[in-house]
């Protein structure tokens, strides 16, 4: 059976090699370690759907990036690490090689860091991933674009500050953080403590064991604690259950602020009425009214190549995240092409493109994404790119933006990030790059 599988793979690779050598145009290949089944399927189908939609848009509308077509294939991971690793091993043999990896999974991203560094292909972990990989000096190939968990925390606290009348008015307030019982959930505990110290508020961290079907005890504890705000750091089913249990225990839902993995339609809809008024952070606004979305609907869905089965999901949080991710990947290639030539680029060249990805508000508007996301400014030392966040409120049917674009307090967070990346470098025997300028 071993041989059969290898043989079949061999035939498949051989066939694709033949096919690719027969092709005329250059291509830029994106391997997609997607997840369309399993508990997190809703996020996966939305995100990868949006990514593919944008790639299709660039191919159809522009003929690719300066004539270089964008190609991709999918490998189902079910959000499991070993499937992600197996997909990596399978897809990396593709010729031409991968431009960038976009797994949308913390576990899989971690498992890949050593491999992609050895293979010299960038790893894009938009809105997630290792916080300390923001430090591009230690992680040259990893790009946690737009937001990392620490920035997200800072953004949330700043927003709560605006709600109570100023960040100085946070003093003496009580904030409860309801977190998913996993490493992801626990990751921001130190930052909340840091910010609590700085601004003088009280914080209590309450754990919800995975998967979060039962939260009675936690919300009764919250009730006893009488916090002013609850931050929901959830994942999957924990989110709607949290909202429903909050209603059950009488906590006002508009004082619940969701983090970036508790901010989608799929998190709010199952909670029904209990979710009306819920606020959540996001790096990209929802809705299909932005020019780039309109174009996707017209061009991509119009020609029957739309990736989402359910057209009502166009413009949803995960779909738009996928589209923004597509924009960032494509622009990185564009930037790299200006330096290296309008041809198929290697992973190393695409990496350079990401490291020099500067999209200011004007450029974002030119791309048709004004209001969709704010801007990004990646540098050698800062692979996060100083992405800004905004907050949306759920009205029972859709999300509406209820705040300006907020900038997290990067200056405060940078020293902690550097300390962590330095210890990683020491552990692994890596010499941090010198970013010069």
């Amino acid at each position: 059976m071993r041989n059969l599988s290898a043989m079949i793979r061999g035939i498949a690779v051989g066939a694709s090699l033949l096919a690719s050598t027969a092709a005329q145009a250059d291509e830029q290949y994106f391997p997609l370690q997607s997840y369309r089944v399993g508990p997190y399927a809703a996020g996966g189908t939305g995100f990868f759907g949006g990514f593919i939609d944008y790639l299709n848009l660039v191919n159809i509308r522009d003929g690719g990036v300066n004539g270089v077509k964008l190609t991709w294939d999918e490998c189902e991971t079910q959000y499991e690490v070993e499937r992600g690793v197996e997909c990596y091993e399978r897809q990396k043999g593709h010729r031409p090689g991968a431009s960038a990896w976009n797994p949308l999974s913390v576990g899989i991203a971690y498992a890949m860091i050593d491999r992609i560094t050895a293979d010299k292909v960038p790893l894009i972990t938009i809105n997630h991933g290792r916080t300390d990989s923001t430090d591009g000096r230690v992680f040259p190939y990893v790009f946690p674009l737009l937001l990392n968990p620490y920035s997200e925390t800072s953004g949330i606290i700043t927003y709560i500050g605006t709600k109570v009348g100023g960040i100085d008015k946070l003093k003496g307030k009580k904030i409860a953080v309801l977190y998913h019982g996993s490493p992801y959930g626990k990751e921001t505990i130190p930052i909340y403590d840091l910010l609590a110290q700085k601004f003088g508020f009280e914080v209590q961290q309450i754990e919800v064991p995975h998967p979060g079907n039962e939260q009675q005890a936690q919300w009764l504890t919250i009730r006893r604690y009488h916090p002013d705000y609850v931050v929901l750091r959830g994942w999957g089913v924990m989110n709607p259950v949290a909202l429903k249990t909050a209603q059950k225990t009488g906590f006002p839902v508009d004082h619940i602020i969701g983090n970036v993995w508790s901010n989608s339609e799929e998190d709010a809809t199952p909670a029904g009425d209990a979710a009306k008024g819920y606020v959540a952070i996001t790096t990209q606004a929802s809705g299909a009214e932005y020019p780039v979305l309109q174009e996707i609907v017209k061009t991509v869905y119009g020609s029957g190549k739309g990736n989402l089965d359910d057209k009502k999901r166009i413009g949803s949080v995960y779909h738009n995240l996928g589209i923004v991710n597509g924009i960032l990947n494509v622009e990185a290639i564009r930037v790299a092409q200006e330096k290296f030539g309008h041809r198929t680029l290697t992973g190393e060249e695409v990496r350079w493109g990401f490291e020099n990805l500067h999209l200011d508000e004007a450029r974002v508007a030119a791309l048709g994404a004004k209001g969709l996301f704010h801007s990004i400014h990646v540098t050698c030392a800062n692979h996060e790119g100083e992405g800004r966040v905004t907050f949306q409120q759920w009205d029972g049917a859709k999300w509406t933006v209820v705040s300006d674009w907020i900038a997290p307090d990067w200056a405060l967070l940078r020293p902690i990030i550097e300390k962590s990346s330095a210890s990683y470098a020491a552990e692994k025997g890596i010499t941090p790059r010198d970013c010069g300028n």
């Binding site: 064991p209 079907n213 005890a217 009764l220």
Partner: protein, 297 residues
């Protein structure tokens, strides 16, 4: 201190009501185990399938009553199909083989449910309002009260069924001694088919209530992991035990999470119920209401 006492009662009541929800799931297990000695691990995926069917039909515009009816028929068919194709061929095997078979069946049902209806998350609105009630200053969830009432009704109906109807008596006869039942002329296959069908109905009720509580998606089938400690405590073959066990587990879990949890950083709910069940077992190896096995060498 009144504040503290009030809070304690709140946690206790919340826990008891949660426990009733666990019992709902456990009762489905008990039905099948009582009459055929099989621990049906597929109960969780049956709950998922039932809830998904109802929700998907509702979203396609089918009225609630019809959706439930269709799902009911579906569950009965599935239940009987499992009995016929999986369990009847395995009728002489060891209990662990049967358990493994139901594990395989649970994979089949989970996969089929998602193939058929997709992997999206759905909300389920049963029209039961969930605003909190304040009784003497103690917070009680109105949804949980309604669920408890439904569960109680179901238990009453089942108990009456077992005690008063011929089929119910036949169930008990088969549970007591299959060979004697055979000797007396009871048709085991028909009885087993009926039991599985009934269990399917119980799965539907549990699916609707849990689905309304959590939303209908993949992890709904994991409620079965909460039911196992209940079964351990109450005995695998007793409906009354399932209720008592459920209440005990629900209360213990919530109280421990609130009062013991902070001592170790929280999150102990995931294993505390199992620890309680284990501790209990070491004192009474066959549960509260279970029967002691008699062995001959």
């Amino acid at each position: 201190m009144m504040e503290e006492l009030r809070f304690l009662i709140e946690v206790l009541v919340g826990g008891l009501l949660s426990g009733v929800m666990y019992s709902l799931v456990a009762i489905g297990f008990v039905l099948i185990y009582k009459t055929s000695g099989v621990l049906n691990f597929a109960q969780g995926s049956m709950i998922l399938f039932a809830a998904l069917t109802v929700v998907s039909l509702l979203e396609r515009g089918v009225p609630m009553a019809l959706a439930i009816a269709v799902s009911l028929v579906g569950m009965i068919v599935i239940g009987m199909a499992i009995e016929r194709t999986v369990l009847r061929p395995l009728v002489n095997r060891t209990p662990i083989t049967l358990f493994m078979a139901t594990l395989g069946v649970s994979y089949v049902i989970e996969g089929a449910a998602q193939l058929l209806w997709g992997a999206q998350v759905h909300g389920l609105d049963l029209g039961i309002d969930d605003s909190p009630l304040e009784i003497q200053g103690v917070l009680v969830s109105s949804f949980d009260l309604v669920a408890a009432a439904i569960a109680a009704t179901m238990v009453a109906v089942l108990s009456a069924f077992f005690r008063l109807t011929r089929t119910g008596l036949a169930f008990r006869a088969v549970a007591d001694d299959p060979f004697a039942a055979l000797a007396v002329g009871l048709r085991l296959p028909a009885i087993w088919a009926t039991v599985w069908a009934t269990s399917g109905i119980v799965a539907l009720v549990a699916g609707l209530l849990w689905g309304a509580r959590l939303g209908v998606q993949f992890s709904l089938s994991m409620v079965v992991l909460k039911a196992l400690p209940v079964l351990v405590l109450g005995g695998f073959d007793s409906v009354a035990g399932a209720i008592v066990g459920g209440l005990a587990i629900g209360a213990a879990e919530k109280l421990s999470e609130v009062y013991l949890g902070p001592l170790v950083g929280g999150g102990i709910e995931s294993w505390f119920a199992y620890a309680v069940a284990l501790a209990f077992l070491l004192i009474r190896p066959t549960g509260l209401f279970g029967r002691k096995p008699v062995e001959r060498v």
